[in-house]
Assembly symmetry: C2
Homo-oligomer: 203 residues x 2
DNA sequence: CTACCAAAACTGACCGGTCAGTTCAAATAG
DNA sequence: CTATTTGAACTGACCGGTCAGTTTTGGTAG
């Protein structure tokens, strides 16, 4: 019996991490493409080259596995954003950040798709998890926006927080639009459109 | 046997339209909240106060019903946008249009949610339908953007079409953000943020 | 080096339940 | 009279979750 009791994340029991990574990769792809509800645990397990029982051993349920997947993805994105080398001007900093986001979405399109499809679902199975994750991203971007507001003349009618939210959302949809409807569009073009939001914020 | 042969849309067989409307309302709510895959046909029929058989008589399948739902919603939105009274300046025209979009999303939040969750899904069950519908909306907005480009100095590095796409996406996410995460935010504040994109486009 | 062991990790057949889709005779509305 | 709706039964596939049993791992003792 031995009560599975999910292995503490702090511990690093050899195989487990590799197994989890395989499950992340497989489920990110499948779930991004067809949605959490339409993908079966059997499919995910098969795609990861692992048995169904392993999924339930590592995560307690399908729902918890998806929550962990969401967290994992946002952590990856966040760590990329904060580890960016600071530029001379705050605007350039922000631009680099948004470029990194576009790159991330291009690298993990299924994750971006999953995020937009669940982000605003209310009531949603992962709404609380997503609210927290969103706040973290808005926080990172918001910091950069505030520095822009300090260095430049900006529209004081609009709060930095709402600008950060708009930028986050706009980057999502522009990134996905480019991947799905305009594969010809270059990274620079997409970035230019995203930066339009900032330009409109400056006075 | 009698082969149901879905009633031609052009015909208006009395009760049918009322039945369809009830099904639209009920399914829009349920599907927007929990996603197409998680909602059962029995649920939708019950919520619409209609029997399951009626669903299959009017639409051939669950999938076709959802496709019809998407079309119906976009048609409603489109008809609102094109019936707007033209303003003196093209920018004001665009602003009114985006305001109407925000109002529409506030009125049918579940539809907005459904649209963002399926819009970029590839391969998706309704991807072709959605591609067409998206083009129609981008077309309407794009027209207004082009008139702005004619009346004003704009950033020629960015095409009107990509601006239209960005505006459409930004309006989606800002509208949903407001409904879900910032119910305190006023319509005017949301509109101001959306208009930021246009401001950045102007030179 | 090897034999052994306990815990951790993994397996996959299996179960109970759910759901889309089908059918149809009877009722109702226009 | 015809088009539409009802409601209930049925099916056949599918799916999330369980669990008894198996394999792997990392360590310990001889």
């Amino acid at each position: 019996m031995s009560e599975p009791a999910h292995p503490a994340q702090s511990r690093r029991p050899a195989r487990t991490n590799a197994t989890r990574q395989k499950l992340f990769d497989a489920s990110m792809l499948l779930i991004g493409e067809r949605g959490p509800a339409s993908v079966t645990v059997d499919e995910i397990a098969a795609a990861a080259g692992v048995s169904k029982g392993t999924v339930y051993y590592n995560f307690g349920s399908k729902s918890e596995m998806i929550a962990a997947l969401l967290e994992h993805g946002v952590e990856m994105l966040e760590s990329r954003l904060v580890s960016l080398s600071p530029a001379a001007k705050a605007v350039d900093d922000l631009q680099e950040m948004l470029g990194a986001m576009l790159d991330f979405f291009a690298e993990y399109p299924s994750f971006a798709q999953l995020l937009v499809s669940e982000m605003w679902r209310t009531p949603g199975e992962w709404h609380e998890t997503l609210t927290l994750l969103r706040e973290r991203l808005v926080g990172v971007i918001g910091g950069a926006v505030e520095r822009v507001a300090q260095e430049n003349q900006v529209d004081t009618e609009i709060t930095p927080a709402s600008v950060a939210g708009a930028i986050l959302g706009a980057t999502f949809v522009i990134g996905l639009d480019r991947l799905v409807f305009h594969p010809d569009r270059s990274r620079e073009q997409a970035l230019a459109v995203v930066m339009t939001v900032i330009r409109g914020y400056l006075r």
